[in-house]
Symmetry: C2
Subunit: 213 residues, 2 copies
Amino acid sequence: MAARDYGQYSGVTRALELVGERWAMLIVRDLLVGPRRYGELASGLHRIPSNILAARLKELQAAGVIRRAPRSRVIVYELTPYGRELEPVVLALGAWGFKALDDPRDEQLVTPESMTMDLRTAFRPLVAAALPATAYAAHLGSSELLIRVDGAALDVSQGEGAADLAFTAGPDILRLISGELAPALALSTGAIRVLDGRRDLLDRFASTFHLAA
Amino acid sequence: MAARDYGQYSGVTRALELVGERWAMLIVRDLLVGPRRYGELASGLHRIPSNILAARLKELQAAGVIRRAPRSRVIVYELTPYGRELEPVVLALGAWGFKALDDPRDEQLVTPESMTMDLRTAFRPLVAAALPATAYAAHLGSSELLIRVDGAALDVSQGEGAADLAFTAGPDILRLISGELAPALALSTGAIRVLDGRRDLLDRFASTFHLAA
DNA sequence: CCGCATCCCATGTGATACTG
DNA sequence: CAGTATCACATGGGATGCGG
């Protein structure tokens, strides 16, 4: 499965030969959140055919971007140090694509991994540093994201935890971040529902995470 | 030609739907150097089939990344303002891929556009600011690149011009930039040949443009 | 069940030829 | 010069199978 060659000797072509195939960059994106098992990758990228996932994992290993690592009886895939250096690429790509998001369609999901990277992309450390430390719990369908902001530091993890504000988050959460949907409107229309905590903290969330279109 | 959908509502997937197809990012890279005609793009990306180039140009227009513009009797393609915002993505991708370059193969070309973007990627403004203003003329096969460094500013253009140092540049020029090939060695082996100017200016070039593997 | 491998078909890609 | 048309082939997508 030789990566198809562009016939040029340059940085961009080399990069695209290594991670330019369909789905490859999304595997990298999800692994930037943390090591993942095969099945976790498959469900996070729910439309990827299993043969393609298997093929990409092999190619990315051969390219030195990811590695298979045994973790107490099970195999996980993780980024190599060189693979982790793709983070600026993924963040830049995410910031650019974020501005081109139109209204979400019904079939479109927000996965914990995509949401985590979108949050990292939209995080404004300078704004956050001026605000009190805050923890948010975002319920995305079946999974929960714990978003802890403390000064200029951001930590996003999956699972339960104490939070100042808990809310349900569908795709519209990204429209909140883009400023296209005001917090008050999101609450009044029910696009976002607060489960626990002070509703006005959603304003703080929206100013902490913002990426204008 | 609907861009195939990843089924996710996120920044990275949206970006990849717009510019993730094969060859698309390379068209963007070349247009970051300046507006180009169809034939110029085709020869800069010499392995692209003409039907694929035509298809990509249409898709990128539909995506709002590029536009057709009439320039005194001829049509050129140029980036839209939104397309120009891909520059950080291309530079990050180039910097990452640059480190994975192995030895050049005979079939691999260095085009003026790829070289221009690689130079922008490897440019070290802080180093350059401490050096005298210098102009380099790099002969790449049939074309010539005029590289002007003045303080922390870099300007790369195609065509002739007065230069402090003129040299021939094959693919090995990138190995010089990566530090894999020392200037003295490049000169003694003939990998790089100085046509005009002080040979020791090649050291200055190598310290101005550097991206370690 | 998880982690893939196989099969088959739709679509995208690549090389070449061709046209306004 | 700036694309379009055609066709063989490689790749992607979806379903299914299967060993550990």
